[in-house]
Amino acid sequence: MSDKKIIPAPLANEGLPPDERGLFCDAAPREYEPARGIMEDFANWARSESLWILGFGTGCGAIELRPLMTSRFDMYRYGIQPRPTPRQSSVFVIGGYASVKTLKRIVRSYEQMMGPKFVVALGSCTINGGMYWDSYNTIKRIDQYIPVDVYITGCMPRPEALLAGFQELKKIIRAGRAEGQNEYARNFEWFKANQKKVIKDWNMPDYNW
């Protein structure tokens, strides 16, 4: 991969106590240029056929992942499987509404994932707040905080809709349009400002890495 991009300035990590700042990484994310031509196509094919979902049930959407993982809908046959650690996962399924407390963990888990990483947003709540539009504790739009590749509307979306969503995600990946990681790096300051606006007790590094 080409590393021509300028490496951004180190982050301040003001949320951390001064004596802990040295313990954490202060590098900001940077963009990665995709490989060219057939190499990238091949890589994208592999990425699309091996989707590892982060096992993090952020909201009620997690309940429809169960049937999907098990024998009735069996997502393994589409190359999709759950993975317990963000380091090894490539897909983050946002299961509906995200409370502020969970959003903090979502951001953290998302940043810990290795790129290219993809986000599938389940349910109405991720699009425009859903039925918790007037709640003091849930965000309305997940795309304010992390980049999203595919939205699946529904409350709850049926497992079939989820499968269809994953197929759509595969198409997007193969077409090379799932560049959420770069988008996040490009608009890092904007995303971070949005995150910090709602996460009032920011006591983690600016970029969890």
Binding site: T70, G79, P84, P116
Partner: protein, 304 residues
């Protein structure tokens, strides 16, 4: 005709290539068989390939220092090393690898080596689950090594050699010559240890996702993970070939090897699908109990 050293190296690479692919396909097909038990279709047989490619083409990776890198490298070295000193097919030049007299000792060493290297690397990850996984892994390994070592000793005593090729050779001439029938106790102890070695249920506590999100490899990602996955295929292949050689009469051609190793591996799945997993203390207690006694008995039988 004895090949030159260069030729042997070339053959070893070929052999490694074959065993890697075989290992991957074996994992893929076992996943499909497990899926069948679970009432589903299961992933494609070639899924492990895609997973490895996917892991290798990740755009970024994190590091926790040099030891962290060395973990998978050691592990892979352990896997390759194990395999490199086992003759995969008896009498075959290509699949003879670097087997020579006394290779059994080297193999025993390499089986440990990977695990230890991994422990070092994973410990660097700084993740508590890695640390717990490592301690569990080492503890359990120590436990299953006891019956395994006993049965290997029994075999060594029985055949009077530490040369795997010789052991295989001694088992030729009909299946009744297999260790399976000549010293069944050693085989039983070894098979039970094998269950622990391959970290299938009920001995999967090392990587139990429900408890310690997959344990030692928690922090590994990208090409390091790809390395671990590749190693899994090679290491599995190596262990299977070793078991086949020690206890099931080895293989005179590659087809026999495939069938035998497949069946040996299937024992894992057969048991694994039926049982939940032991806690570490339970599995240690288990290995140090009946299997160890069986192992001792097999040694005694072999000795007298």
């Amino acid at each position: 005709m004895e090949p030159t050293l260069l030729g042997r190296i070339g053959y070893a690479f070929l052999s490694l290539f074959v065993i890697t692919n075989y290992g991957l396909l074996l994992i893929g097909s076992m996943a499909r068989i497990s899926a069948k038990v679970q009432g589903r279709v299961g992933q494609p047989v070639y899924q492990p390939y895609i997973d490895i490619i996917k892991s290798s083409v990740k755009r970024n990776a994190i590091s926790h220092g040099i030891m962290f890198y060395l973990g998978p490298v050691f592990r892979l070295a352990g896997g390759v090393g194990t395999y490199m000193f086992i003759p995969a097919v008896f009498g075959s030049v290509v699949f003879r690898n670097f087997s020579d007299s006394g290779d059994l000792l080297l193999v025993m060493y390499f089986i440990f080596f990977g695990q230890l290297g991994m422990a070092l690397g994973a410990g660097e990850g700084g993740h508590p689950y890695s640390a717990i996984g490592v301690s569990r892994g080492l503890a359990q390994m120590t436990a299953f090594e006891v019956p395994f070592a006993l049965s290997v000793i029994a075999v060594a005593i029985q055949y009077g050699t530490l040369d795997i090729n010789a052991i295989v050779g001694a088992q030729q001439g009909g299946f009744l010559n297999w260790t399976l029938f000549t010293n069944p106790l050693a085989v039983v102890a070894a098979i039970i240890a094998f269950l622990g070695m391959s970290m299938h249920n009920p001995f999967s506590v090392v990587i139990a996702p429900q408890e310690i999100p997959i344990g030692p490899p928690t922090e590994y990602q990208a090409n390091l993970l790809g390395m671990l996955q590749t190693n899994r295929a090679i290491f599995n292949g190596a262990k299977l070939v070793l078991y086949m050689n020690l206890f099931f009469g080895g293989a005179t051609n590659i087809l026999v090897m495939v069938v035998k190793t497949f069946l040996i591996y299937f024992i894992n799945v057969f048991v694994g699908q039926a049982f939940p997993r032991f806690r570490t203390d339970q599995s240690i207690r288990f290995f140090l109990g009946v299997p160890t006694l069986i192992g001792i008995a097999s040694v005694i039988i072999a000795a007298v």
